[in-house]
C-alpha cells in the first residue's frame, strides 16, 4: 500500500469523506452503551453519591484533551520537518475539537468539584495546567489564522504547538508531583480502585470520545482542504460535476 497516495490533499479529501460517517456511527453506539452503563446501571459511589457520574464525561474529555494535543503536535512536527501540506491541515483540523474537549474537562470538573470539594475552582497544579492547555489551543488557532499566507501560519503555529508540548507531562504528572486537591488516577496498570461497571462505562465513553474526535477532525479537515485548495483544478471540478 502506498501511504503517499493518501498524503495528497485531493485523495485524502475523498478518503476522509468516506471514513467520517463510520467514526460517528461508532461514537454514537459507544456513547449509547457507555451512557447506559454510566447513568443507568452503575451503582452509587459510597463516598461521593450520584455526582461521581460526571466521571463518565470528565475523564474521557480530559484524556482526549491531552491526547489530541499530542497528536496535533505530532502532525505539527511532521509538517515542519517534511514540509507536508496535509499534516499541517490535519493539525488545524484537530485544534478546535481539542479545545472543546479541554473546555468540557474543565467545565465538568468544576461541577464535580463544587459538591465534593466545596468549590468550583482551585488554583491547583492539575487545574491550572489544564487551563494553560486550553490557552495553548486558543493560541495555536489564533496564530495559525493570523497571517495572510496560510503556509506561514501553519509553520509558526506548528512551532508554538511543539513548544507547548512541555505542558503535557506537567498536566499528567501534576497529581503525583504536587500535593493537590485533585485526586490521583483511579485507573492504573496494577489494578483499579473502581467498581467494574464504572470502569467499563468510563472506558467505553473514552472510546466514544476518541471515535467522535476522529470523525469531527475528518469532517473539518475536508473544509480546511477546500479552503486551502480553492484555486486548484480538482476542487473546481468538484462542484461542477
Amino acid at each position: 500500500m502506498n501511504w503517499f497516495y493518501f498524503s495528497s490533499p485531493s485523495t485524502f479529501y475523498g478518503l476522509a469523506g468516506r471514513l467520517a460517517p463510520w467514526f460517528f456511527v461508532a461514537a454514537a453506539l459507544l456513547a449509547a452503551w457507555g451512557l447506559y452503563l454510566g447513568l443507568l446501571v452503575a451503582p452509587t459511589d459510597a463516598q461521593q453519591g450520584e455526582v461521581y457520574r460526571v466521571i463518565f464525561i470528565h475523564v474521557p474529555t480530559a484524556w482526549m484533551s491531552m491526547f489530541l494535543y499530542f497528536v496535533m503536535a505530532c502532525y505539527c512536527g511532521l509538517s515542519l520537518v517534511f514540509n507536508t501540506r496535509l499534516s499541517a491541515m490535519m493539525a488545524r483540523a484537530i485544534a478546535p475539537t481539542g479545545a472543546l474537549m479541554t473546555f468540557l474537562a474543565l467545565w465538568t470538573g468544576a461541577f464535580w468539584g463544587r459538591p465534593t470539594w466545596g468549590t468550583y475552582w482551585v488554583w491547583d497544579a492539575r487545574l491550572t495546567s489544564e487551563l494553560v492547555l486550553l490557552f495553548l489551543y486558543f493560541g495555536y488557532m489564533a496564530l495559525a489564522n493570523a497571517f495572510e499566507d496560510p503556509r506561514r501560519g501553519d509553520r509558526a503555529a506548528a512551532l508554538l504547538a511543539l513548544i507547548g508540548v512541555v505542558n503535557l507531562p506537567i498536566i499528567y504528572f501534576s497529581v503525583q508531583w504536587w500535593n493537590t486537591l485533585h485526586q490521583g488516577s483511579s485507573v492504573s496498570f496494577k489494578g483499579t480502585s473502581m467498581h467494574v461497571t464504572m470502569l467499563t462505562g468510563m472506558l467505553v465513553m473514552s472510546a466514544s470520545a476518541w471515535m467522535y474526535a476522529i470523525g469531527a477532525t475528518l469532517v473539518r479537515v475536508r473544509s480546511v482542504i477546500l479552503e486551502r485548495e480553492r484555486r486548484t483544478a480538482w476542487v473546481r471540478s468538484l462542484g461542477a460535476a
Binding site: 490557552f135 486558543f138 496564530l143 493570523a146 506561514r152 509553520r155 509558526a156 512551532l159 508554538l160 506537567i170
Partner: protein
C-alpha cells in the same frame, strides 16, 4: 593566504554571533534608553498601585508582596517583548542576520540575553527595594531576588519565542499576550511560590530547583526555537 584569512569570519560561530548580537542590541538600548527606563518605571508603578488599591495593612502587604512583585515583573517583561524583534524585522536587519554566517542559535540567544539585561536584570536588582515597601523580611527579600534572577531569563526566552512567532501577524499585542502569558504561568507560580514558602517558614528549595530546571530546559531548547521562528518569519 587571503583565503585562509577570510575563512574564520565566513564560517561564523555561536560565540561570535552571540556576542555580536548582544553588543548590537545593548548599544541600541544604550542610545535609546527610554524603553528600558519605561519598563523599570512600569514595574515600580504597578507594585506601588497595589497598596493604594488594597489597603496599606502591613500584614496584608507582606502576604501579597511576593506575588505582586512577580506579577509586576511578568507584565514588565511582557511589555518589553514587542520591541525585541519587531523593529529589526521591519527594517530588514533580521533578514540580514539569518543570512549572516553565524548560526541562528547564536544571534537569537544574544538578542534574548540583551533583552534580559535591559528588562529582567534591572527588575531583579530593583525587587529588594519594592520588597522593602511591602515589609518583607530580609531573608524573603533575598529569596525573592534569587527567584527573579532565575525566573526572568525564562520569561525573556519564552517571550522571545512568542514574539518571534508573532512577527508580521495580524492582531499584534493581543495575539502576543494570548501566546506568551499562559506560558509565563508556571514561572509565575514557582517564582512567587519560592518567596512565599520562605516567608511562611518553609523551604524555598523545591520551587527554586523547579525554576532552575525550567531555566536549563529553556536555555537548551528555546534559542533554537527562536532561530527557527525568525527563519519562518523572513522566508
Amino acid at each position: 593566504m587571503t583565503d585562509t584569512a577570510a575563512r574564520p569570519q565566513a564560517e561564523g560561530s555561536f560565540a561570535a554571533g552571540f556576542s555580536w548580537a548582544m553588543a548590537r542590541d545593548l548599544t541600541l538600548a544604550w542610545r535609546h534608553p527610554d524603553e528600558a527606563v519605561l519598563t523599570v518605571a512600569f514595574f515600580a508603578l504597578v507594585a506601588s498601585l497595589f497598596p493604594l488599591g488594597i489597603g496599606a495593612e502591613p500584614q496584608l502587604l507582606a502576604r501579597i508582596g511576593p506575588g505582586v512583585i512577580w506579577v509586576g515583573a511578568l507584565l514588565a517583561a511582557f511589555l518589553a517583548l514587542p520591541g525585541l524583534f519587531a523593529t529589526d524585522y521591519a527594517d530588514g536587519s533580521l533578514e540580514q542576520m539569518t543570512l549572516s554566517p553565524h548560526p541562528a542559535l547564536g544571534w537569537a540567544a544574544g538578542k534574548v540575553a540583551a533583552h534580559w539585561i535591559v528588562s529582567g536584570l534591572p527588575l531583579t536588582l530593583l525587587s529588594p527595594l519594592i520588597g522593602l515597601q511591602y515589609g518583607l523580611a530580609p531573608d524573603t527579600l533575598g529569596i525573592q531576588a534569587l527567584s527573579l534572577l532565575i525566573g526572568t531569563p525564562v520569561l525573556s526566552l519564552l517571550g522571545g519565542a512568542c514574539a518571534a512567532l508573532a512577527l508580521g501577524a495580524r492582531g499584534g499585542g493581543m495575539l502576543l499576550a494570548l501566546l506568551a502569558l499562559p506560558l509565563f504561568v508556571p514561572v509565575l507560580i514557582f517564582g512567587a511560590g519560592a518567596a512565599e514558602a520562605q516567608a511562611t517558614g518553609m523551604s524555598p528549595a523545591p520551587h527554586l530547583s523547579l525554576l532552575g530546571a525550567g531555566l536549563i530546559a529553556s536555555l537548551v531548547g528555546l534559542p533554537f526555537a527562536i532561530g527557527t521562528a525568525v527563519r519562518i518569519a523572513v522566508d
